[in-house]
Structures are given as structure tokens and as C-alpha cells.
């Protein structure tokens, strides 16, 4: 295959991989270690509440 054809294949692969990755992203739940280490839950004050992943 020529350089330009390889480039087209790579571009298409990127789109396909991102869509597959999207389908694998958790919907409605998350890994416990993400919840434990990356999610800040602050219930003290509604005005200041932020969940920062």
C-alpha cells in the first residue's frame, strides 16, 4: 500500500477505536478504585459541592 493509503487506514482506525472505546466506557457505574481515588464527595455545603474526578 502507498503512504497515503496507510494514512487513510490509520485515520479510519482512530475513528473506529474511539467508537469501540466509547462503547466500553462504563455507563451508570464505575470502577471502585476510580471512585476511591479520583472522586471527591463533599456533602457539607451544597454551594461548595463539587465532585472532582
Amino acid at each position: 500500500m502507498s503512504d497515503s493509503q496507510w494514512s487513510l487506514v490509520i485515520g479510519l482506525l482512530v475513528v473506529i477505536i474511539m467508537r469501540v472505546l466509547d462503547s466500553l466506557l462504563p455507563k451508570g457505574y464505575m470502577l471502585k478504585w476510580i471512585q476511591k481515588y479520583f472522586v471527591k464527595i463533599d456533602d457539607d455545603d451544597d454551594d461548595k459541592d463539587e465532585l472532582t474526578p
Binding site: D3, S7, L8, I10, G11, D22, Y29, D49, P53
Partner: protein
């Protein structure tokens, strides 16, 4: 409750998306390079394919924002990532890794993928984070 990161300002009643605007403009430059001044590497067939890809990305980014359609906007980000990956690989293969085009394209590629990840995270996990907090977990 705030979850994720959103710019608190609006333009024409829509969320401001400065990075998407920058990505759209840079992708328009790709179309300009290939179709108007015709200075891109690769044969004409590649130019056409890249232009179609880039036009779809521009369409998704612009109308996703205009119509407040997050799915369409996400498609714009994904297609833009594809456009920049395509451009980066062609410069690498055709001109060589010392080409500026490789590294400029890599930068925009990383930006597009990163922006898409943030959007996807926000859309997929926001509901769970909010419900988790409501349940007092």
C-alpha cells in the same frame, strides 16, 4: 452540585466551547491546505478523502454546538481526531519524522482525543456521580 468542568459562560444561548472552536478552525485550515492552495503531501485522491473527513468533522463540531446536540459534537471530535491522525501519519511516511507537520498534527490529535474523553466522561458518568451523591454514598 457541579460535576465535571464546564465553562460557566454562554454565547448565543449555547455553552462556550473554546477548544472545539480552535479545533474546528484548525481543521478548516487543513481543508484550505488541501483544496484551496493544494500544498498538502500525497496524491489528489488522498486530498479528496482527507477533505471529506475534515468537512464531516467541521460539520459535527459546528452543528453539534449550534443545535446543542452533544452526540453530533462528539462525532465531530472523533472525526477531527481521525483527520489529524491521518495528516500526521502521511507527513511521517511521506516527508519524515522531522517534519513540522507531524508534530503539529500530533498536538491537535492529542487535543481532539482528550477533549472527546472529557466530553464522554462527562456524559457517561455524570448521571452516576449525581445519583451516587443523592444516595449519600
Amino acid at each position: 452540585m457541579a460535576v465535571g468542568v464546564e465553562v460557566p459562560y454562554e454565547f448565543m444561548g449555547r455553552r462556550m466551547r473554546p477548544f472545539s472552536l480552535a479545533l474546528m478552525l484548525s481543521t478548516i485550515v487543513v481543508v484550505y491546505q488541501y483544496e484551496i492552495i493544494e500544498q498538502g503531501p500525497g496524491p489528489h485522491g488522498f486530498d479528496v478523502a482527507e477533505t471529506v473527513f475534515a468537512s464531516a468533522a467541521i460539520f459535527g463540531l459546528f452543528f453539534g454546538w449550534l443545535l446543542k446536540n452533544d452526540d453530533l459534537h462528539e462525532w465531530g471530535l472523533i472525526l477531527a481526531a481521525g483527520v489529524w491522525a491521518m495528516r500526521m501519519s502521511l507527513y511521517w511516511l511521506d516527508v519524515g519524522p522531522a517534519s513540522i507537520g507531524v508534530w503539529l498534527s500530533l498536538s491537535w490529535f492529542i487535543g481532539a482525543v482528550g477533549a472527546w474523553l472529557l466530553e464522554a466522561f462527562d456524559h457517561r458518568w455524570r448521571f452516576h456521580l449525581e445519583s451516587m451523591r443523592a444516595a449519600g454514598e
